[in-house]
């Protein structure tokens, strides 16, 4: 810690900020969000990533609001509120799945985008319940078995990491289950899946519900973390940061989402350091509004990645052979 006092160079600053990285709430939120996205198997939705994220934010908001309103105004137990929040988001997921059943391609995108705006509009205008733009103040810290988890005692970070681990575990379990394989089949080639006797509608609904559930779960963390939420909390900017992270890491993999978050988050901090550094340069080397270049660099990352490595840093087709269940493998080998 004393290192900090003596050294103020850019380098140390960067090291410190990376150390602090995990204290940045949005990053953890996004890790969870990205993980939830991974579960978000939707048929032929590969082109519509952006909107997929927009809609996840909507579910995220539903989860967050439910949990926050229950704990703050009804004094509901934290765990109960979390489960209710995630379930409500899941229910909305199922509802959306039902309503988009007839649509395909771009139209699903657009309906989900409209859904995002309708949800944020409801949060804004139904202020007798959601407190609208005034926002929910003084959200209590989660209370687990008599232990208050606050930012100060670090409890909240443990909680978030616990959630992250739980989500990773749950997604892995689901992916490797029968349901997971069916959902994947529907996602990859709906027609072929139908031919093979998979009930595509059923699995679409399951996929939406699961995705919404996990996004909602991630959302329930947000409120206690920030201590304050309002209608402006869940906006399009979150979508963009989530998008950049997922693209950079690699689309459709858990690893990718985590790596993306790890790389992108210090990038913001490093650029912050860079602007401080640039301000120290002689006058003629100054660039106007150095802070703003961060966004330009985000844009460039997107464009360059798509051009030269669209699968992301870690993304790419799995080269591993398909793993059969134990019994099957033995029979085939013989």
């Amino acid at each position: 810690m004393n290192m900090k006092k003596e050294n103020k160079s850019l380098y140390t600053k960067a090291v410190i900020t990376i150390g602090q990285l995990w204290e940045n709430p949005i990053i953890k939120g996004i890790i969870l969000l990205a993980l939830a996205l991974f579960v978000y198997f939707l048929p032929k939705m590969a082109t519509l990533y952006f909107q997929r994220i927009a809609i996840m934010v909507a579910f995220y908001a539903i989860g967050a609001y439910t949990a926050v309103l229950l704990t703050t105004y009804r004094g509901t137990n934290y765990l109960v509120a979390v489960i209710l929040g995630a379930c409500l988001a899941g229910a909305f997921g199922a509802l959306l799945a039902l309503s988009t059943m007839r649509l395909s391609g771009t139209y699903v995108t657009i309906v989900t985008m409209a859904f995002f705006y309708v949800i944020s509009s409801i949060i804004l205008n139904w202020d007798s319940v959601t407190k609208g733009s005034v926002g929910v103040l003084n959200i209590p810290a989660p209370n687990l078995f008599g232990m208050k988890l606050t930012m100060k005692n670090g409890g909240i970070f443990y909680l978030i990491m616990f959630y992250a681990a739980l989500t990773i575990l749950a997604t892995q379990l689901i992916i490797n289950s029968k349901v997971g394989r069916a959902i994947k089949a529907v996602r990859d080639d709906e027609m072929a899946a139908i031919m093979m006797g998979i009930n595509n509608k059923k699995y679409k609904i399951i996929a939406y519900t699961l995705a919404a559930f996990f996004a909602g779960l991630a959302g329930t963390l947000y409120g206690p973390f920030m201590g304050y939420i309002n209608n402006a909390t869940f906006n399009y900017d979150i979508c963009i940061s989530a998008l950049v992270i997922v693209i950079l890491g690699g689309i459709g993999t858990v690893k990718g989402a985590i790596i993306g978050a790890i790389i992108i988050s210090p990038l913001g901090e490093l650029l912050r350091g860079l602007t401080t550094f640039m301000k120290g340069l002689p006058e003629w080397m100054q660039i106007s509004q150095p802070e703003q270049w961060r966004f330009v660099i985000y844009g460039m990352i997107m464009v360059i990645m798509m051009r030269f490595r669209p699968q992301g840093i870690l993304g790419g087709q799995s080269k591993l052979p398909y793993k059969m269940p134990k019994g099957v493998e033995r029979k085939v080998m013989k």
Binding site: K4, G29, G135, F157, Y158, M161, E291, F295
Partner: protein
């Protein structure tokens, strides 16, 4: 194989959390550092911070805060700092995002020799609790949210509360004498609360002559104001009370001039700025606003600030910027008052009991840590804000 990898990653997450919590323990060392602050030969800089949006949609506010605080800190450093120690101003970009603001607050709480923050714009409602936990004084130059100072006893507000500002705006409207009010309010906490406030104000005081003929909630930003203006026109409004930011007031005013040329427009404190005048041009002539700060004032302190600000940014400081300047003044004075004894509780006490007189007038705080502000009605005339 895949499963194992994921477990490994999960483990990694947990381990990094432990690291993060290690950082979280930083405040403990801060306490020991402040104890050594009493040494008069110590030349370690005293750190204060300004946080505001330097990028994003509200960047003009943050840039203003930044420049104003720099002027104040430079002024102090020129006079030899505090107790011989230089003052270092840490400046952070909140990026118009609440998350970013909270991240900055966490970063700041880990700093050593650090004694206070001026600002926060987008995140003011999220950071108060954290600063209070860490006993860091936070003086906001812009927050108008009702709950801001309720976050904890380290949160001070130099901006007017919603009710004071609403009262100031009503006074403006009364000065102009047009009795049929059309309210245009932003659909955020400020707009909605202010509108409610205005309604109660009119009821309480028994102002029978003054009536609200129409109230329009707007989404702000780049919306088309024609529909709103049509409604106001149909309701026969004579004065428009605008509870919205200047980036809505200007487009509204420009549009309104075509359809309702005689409409008297009263706007909030935030409209007292240069961009408002520059963009509004002849259309904003006659717009009124209450203000605690008048750049046209003859006061030497104001003159110094205005000249210095103009020299650095080529603009005339806005009312909120002037408040940021004073907020930094209050903070530094409070630190200096405790002459060498850099104890945060003492500094907090000094801020609470200050009798600082700044460019925006007296900066004393009420029990609720809200500053008592005295408005004077201002009006735009010949491209300048002058006393009405």
């Amino acid at each position: 194989m895949k499963k194992k990898l994921c477990m490994l990653l999960a483990l990694l997450l947990v381990v990094t959390t432990l690291g993060a919590c290690g950082n979280g323990a930083a405040p403990a060392s801060t306490a020991s550092a402040s104890a050594s602050g009493g040494n008069p030969t110590d030349k370690t800089p005293i750190k204060v911070a300004v946080a505001g949006p330097l990028t994003g949609n509200y960047s003009e506010y943050g840039i203003g805060f930044d420049a104003a605080c720099k002027i104040m800190v430079d002024k102090w450093n020129k006079d030899g700092g505090i107790n011989g120690r230089p003052i270092e101003l840490l400046s952070y970009d909140e990026k118009s995002s609440t998350e970013e603001g909270l991240a900055i607050a966490q970063l700041l709480c880990g700093e050593d020799n650090f004694y206070g923050v001026v600002g926060h714009f987008s995140a003011s409602m999220a950071v108060g609790t954290l600063y209070t936990e860490e006993r860091v004084p936070l003086i906001s130059a812009s927050s108008s949210s009702a709950g801001f100072t309720g976050q904890g006893d380290c949160c001070f507000r130099l901006n007017a509360t919603i009710s004071t500002e609403t009262m100031g705006m009503l006074e403006c409207a009364k000065t102009a004498g047009k009795t049929k009010l059309g309210v245009v309010y932003l659909n955020n906490d400020w707009g909605r609360n202010a509108y409610d406030n205005l309604k109660t104000l009119l009821q309480e005081k028994g102002n029978e002559d003054w009536e609200i003929v129409d109230a329009e909630e707007i989404a702000g930003g780049d919306m088309d104001y024609n529909a709103v203006i049509s409604n106001l026109n149909a309701a026969g409004a004579e004065t428009a009370i605008m509870f919205c930011y200047y980036d809505s007031v200007v487009p509204f005013t420009i549009k309104a001039r075509t359809v309702m040329p005689d409409l008297n427009i009263v706007c909030g404190v935030n409209c007292y700025n240069d961009t408002f005048l520059k963009v509004g041009g002849k259309d904003v002539e006659g717009c009124m606003a209450p203000s605690v700060f008048a750049a046209v004032s003859d006061d030497p302190d104001v003159k110094y600030f205005v000249d210095e600000y103009k020299a650095r940014t080529t603009q005339v400081p806005s009312s909120l910027t002037a408040q940021a300047y004073d907020a930094m003044g209050v903070l530094l004075t409070a630190i200096a008052e405790n002459n060498g004894e850099l104890d945060k509780e003492a500094i907090l006490k000094s801020i609470q009991n200050n009798d600082y007189k700044g460019v925006t007038g007296s900066c004393s705080f009420s029990e609720n840590r809200d500053a008592t502000r005295n408005f004077s009605p201002m009006v735009v005339s010949n491209g300048q804000w002058i006393y009405y």
